[in-house]
Amino acid sequence: MTRPVSVVIPSLDDASLLLRNLEPLVEELDRRALGDEVWVVDDTGRDVLTAPLADAFPTVRVLAHARNLGFAQALKSGIEAAGHELVWSMNPDVRVRSGFLDPLVACLADDDVFAVVPRILLDGDEERVESMTRLVERQGGVRVEQPGLADEHPPYAGYAEPVAFAVGGACLLRRDAFLSTACSPAGGFDPIFEPFYWEDVDLCFTAWRRGQRVLYQPASVVEHHHRGTIGRVIPPELVRAAQEKNRLLFQWKHLEGDARTRAHLAALYRRALDAWLADDRDELVWLALALEQTREALAAREALSDAPLGFREALDATRARGS
């Protein structure tokens, strides 16, 4: 049984892209005729989208931020405004294919499913799937892998499979679960991951630790014509610094177990020493940036202390295929 959804699209000033990709979305929603709604969150701080959208898509509603708050806050604002329980979170550079929504909605029929991600084809290429995500531990650290982008294409099983996390730019999730404080102190993405990156990984992995699941539904297909806002307006060294800082914060938030803690701390010392000895300033800056947020990360870790699954169990759960 399908259900109505609210679509939330956080956006900066990329109106033309948005107008182009809203078209198939609105068509799909019209086809569904279930009273779906679309919220575009204008995060430019300059309300640049209301006018163009009003002409082209009168049914689309615009929520304009008074100032730029970033992707996490924009998505949260939109989800807060959403009228339906199920929310399709979508970036402006995602172009949906017909029938994409129903298989996702079907996945959320199970209460323990926190979010579901469609088959996201990078640039529309059938062979390059972004949706399959997994976390791996290496030398006391955690990394994200997307085997669908690395010439490693798991066979299409025909049914939904667990993934480590749903890519924030194209996933269906539950409004209440997203806004609950179960995953972060004020609901939504954990603010320790500001300004960007790893917030969606953390949100979904926290859900896993809380005993929920995140699924990949290959029956639902969307295209991601990458035109990353971050890469366009933010210098690459800043992007990398945010990634590296947040990778560490993610680990600290979810770090548990003596051996893992020991291995991770040893890895930290090694990184610091290596960076010092090799004059690797970037590495030192990344470490320093992360370590300045140690307290927040440890507080978030503490908040998860009652989670039914530990890091290892959750990690195993994300890999339990056919679940």
Partner: protein, 761 residues
């Protein structure tokens, strides 16, 4: 603020004015709460060239020593003067590691102006204190190699001539320390003449032009770098003007007199000025030629009244120092030698007046400020910026530079004029302190943005600005501070992770961290391998160098042989030239001879013609003579025959008588005797006639022979004339062969003549 001071030398390695000043400034700024990093070069043969070693000083600042070992650092060309290989890169790494927020250059000699670019590339504010004239004079003294003062700032040719003179001095063995200049009377006549010629505008024009081009390019580059500096500080107006004259923007040059640690001199006892006691004169400083100590000793030797002179200091020009020392002994001055900086207040307390006898345009010698801080008046040369420091008759006295008589007069005045010393002591104003200087610099650094918050890239979404700013702030920290923060942060994390993590022994963590996958270890191993590989490469290169040397040797030998061949060929050519010249002369002579011979030939032809005519005439005459002779002979013969016939007829009767008588023997009668006499006479006449006829015949025959000979000769002469008497004559001289032998293809018909081997007719 994090402040970087760059200086060309630093204590304890270097202890002269600028270096000590930089050290005092570093300590003061550090004491004011700034992070001060000094970057200075030093020679350290035990370290690799360009090795960087950081040393933390108890005064609270750090010195990063860049190893510049002499052999490796020796400039290999003019460009190295501006950018010694590897130095700029090492400075860049230093800046990246230490992250100062302002770079203050105190000198760039040895290091090169390229360092300014390195700082600018990192968007750092840059300050340059001009402690001397280096900005506009690569010899930084405005002093020519003959110790004459230069007033041609910005004239590349004048600077190039200094270079050429230095090159010339460098080639003179045992000339001593000539870098700052030397008196020309210490040179040989030839060298002195050559130096004077160069300095006077003469010399090899090509070499001067080339040196000028090189120097102009270097000067342009140095000025370009200095023009990108935010502020150029000049301690005196004189120096500021010189910089401006040299092309440094006036607005950029700021006047900023030095400050010194004046508290060090607070306890120096006042000048005694006891009446009747000899004035105690002292000199402090370097003992190089331009410091004018010789002038001071000369003046001291002229003083009439008792005085004391003590010389404190040292010099690297051993020969000059030895001369000074000998002269000091001669005039009775005390030679105190080098002194430690800490001793200066005490030593100043032991004198009444300090003399600065420089013969170069001094800037602002620290010793003047130190003397004033110790309450000692200064007697100084009226030269350069010295009058800006010493006010004549107020806090000291001035004399004409290099003029020992004038200095002696000034010192005598000091001895004799009652109360003068005390008035000068009283006239000394308070000296600017190092604290004031540091405060001025802090203000300047701040004005240039050294303390500003980092800027974040424009156009960032507001949600990212905070993170970007924080990252930029951390980016500005030196590596060691970042590392310290990180270590501290990890420790906090460890404690925050709970009791289990807290109880993990630190050694275990470090051990675990280093035992697996350390990038540093990998790097070290890589580096070790790289060093081994480099060593192999070096060995290969050494082999290659050896074989190249051999090849060069072989080539040199070949070149030598070739040179010898060339020399021999040149000698041959010279010989040939000489021969050619001689042959040309001979040819000219031959031509002249030919023309003479032609004339002679013409004369001979005329002669021949005349001889032929004469011969014909003679022949004709002879023919006529012969004819006449024949005729005469015929006549004679006919007469003889007639006479014979007459005689025959007359004799016939006689013959008959005789016949008869012969048959009848009888004694001779007188008739018979008469007949016999007549017969004898007839026989004699006949014999004579016959004889005459024979003589006539022989004469005729001889005439005929002579005629034939003459005909033959005439015929030969005619034939010779027909074949060309000129050629014949030329060939007779043998010159034709000479001509042909050196100019075989000349086609010069005149020089042709008889072909080789052709015999003369």
């Amino acid at each position: 603020m994090r402040i970087c001071l760059v200086v060309h030398g630093f204590p304890p390695r270097e202890r002269t004015g600028v270096e000590v000043h930089a050290a005092e400034l570093a300590a003061r700024l550090a004491a004011n709460g700034h992070r001060v990093e000094v970057f200075a070069p030093r020679a350290e043969p035990e370290l690799a060239h360009l090795a960087l070693r950081r040393e933390e000083r108890p005064e609270g600042y750090a010195v990063s020593w860049l190893t510049l070992n002499h052999d490796a650092a020796a400039p290999r060309g003019p460009a190295d003067e501006l950018d010694p290989p590897g130095v700029a890169a090492a400075f860049g790494e230093f800046l990246d590691r230490e992250r100062p927020r302002v770079v203050h250059f105190h000198h760039l000699v040895k290091l090169g102006p390229k360092l300014v670019d390195v700082a600018r590339e990192r968007s750092l504010p840059v300050v340059f204190t001009a402690h001397d004239y280096w900005g506009v004079c690569h010899r930084y003294t405005l002093l020519r190699p003959d110790l004459s003062r230069c007033d041609t700032i910005g004239d590349a040719e004048a600077c190039a001539r200094c270079d050429l003179v230095l090159g010339r001095l460098n080639a003179i063995p045992d000339v001593g320390d000539y870098q700052m200049g030397l008196p020309l009377d210490s040179l040989s006549e030839r060298d002195r003449a050559a130096v004077l010629e160069l300095l006077g505008g003469g010399g090899d024009a090509g070499a001067v032009a080339k040196a000028t081009e090189t120097r102009a390019a270097l000067d342009r580059e140095r000025l370009r770098a200095l023009r990108s500096v935010d502020a150029i500080l000049a301690p005196t107006r004189f120096l500021a003007r010189a910089l401006e004259r040299g092309g440094l923007d006036g607005g950029r040059v700021r006047l900023q007199p030095y400050g010194i640690e004046r508290d060090r001199f607070a306890d120096v006892p006042p000048v005694s000025g006891r009446p009747g006691e000899p004035v105690r004169i002292a000199y402090f400083g370097g003992l190089s030629k331009q410091k004018g100590v010789a002038v001071l000793l000369d003046a001291f030797g002229r003083l009439q009244e008792p005085a004391e002179l003590t010389l404190h200091g040292h010099g690297t020009d051993a020969a000059h120092v030895a001369e000074l020392r000998a002269e000091a002994g001669r005039v009775g001055a005390r030679w105190a030698g080098p002194y430690e900086r800490d001793e200066l207040p005490r030593l100043l307390g032991e004198c009444d007046v300090v003399v600065v006898p420089s013969v170069w345009v001094e800037n602002q010698p620290f010793v003047i400020r130190e003397a004033f801080a110790a309450g000692r008046p200064v007697v100084a040369s009226r030269l350069g910026a010295l009058p800006e420091s010493v006010e004549d008759g107020v806090d000291g006295l001035l004399f004409d530079p290099g003029d020992a008589a004038d200095l002696a007069a000034v010192l005598t005045r000091l001895q004799r004029e009652e109360g003068l010393l005390a008035r000068l002591v009283a006239g000394i104003s308070e000296v600017k302190g190092l604290g004031e200087l540091a405060a001025e610099l802090e203000e300047l650094y701040a004005e240039l943005g050294a303390g500003d918050e980092p800027e974040v890239p424009e156009g960032l979404p507001a949600s990212v600005v905070g993170f970007a700013r924080r990252r930029a702030q951390l980016e500005r920290l030196p590596n060691r501070e970042l590392f310290a923060r990180v270590l501290h942060g990890i420790e906090e994390l460890r404690h925050g992770l709970g009791a289990e993590a807290e109880q993990l022994p630190f050694e275990d963590l470090i051990g675990a961290s280093l035992s697996t996958g350390s990038k540093a270890q990998v790097l070290l191993r890589d580096q070790r391998n790289e060093i081994a590989w480099t060593q192999r490469s070096l060995e290969d290169r050494a082999d290659a160098t050896r074989s190249l040397r051999e090849e060069i040797q072989w080539n040199e030998d070949s070149l030598r042989a070739r040179d010898e061949t060339i020399a021999s060929l040149e000698a041959q050519l010279a010989e040939r030239d000489a021969r050619e010249s001689s042959l040309r002369e001979e040819l000219t002579w031959v031509r002249e001879s030919l023309s003479t011979l032609e004339e002679e030939a013409r004369w001979l032809r005329d002669l021949k013609d005349r001889m032929e005519a004469d011969l014909e005439h003679r022949v004709h005459v002879e023919q006529r003579l012969v004819e006449r002779l024949r005729q005469a002979a015929r006549v004679g013969m006919a007469a003889l025959r007639a006479q014979e016939r007459v005689l025959g007829a007359e004799l016939q009767p006689l013959v008959e008588i005789l016949d008869r008588a012969s048959h009848e023997p009888h004694p001779s009668s007188p008739v018979e005797s008469a007949i016999d006499g007549t017969l004898d006479g007839l026989a004699h006449a006949i014999r004579r006639s016959i004889e005459n006829g024979r003589v006539l015949e022989r004469e005729l025959a001889r005439q005929r022979d002579e005629l034939d000979w003459r005909r033959a000769e005439m015929s030969a002469a005619r034939a010779a004339g027909e074949r060309g008497s000129i050629k014949w004559l030329v060939s007779r001289t043998g010159l034709g062969r000479h001509v042909l032998s050196w100019e075989p293809d000349s086609g010069d018909d005149e020089a042709g003549g008889t072909a080789p081997g052709e015999d003369a007719p």
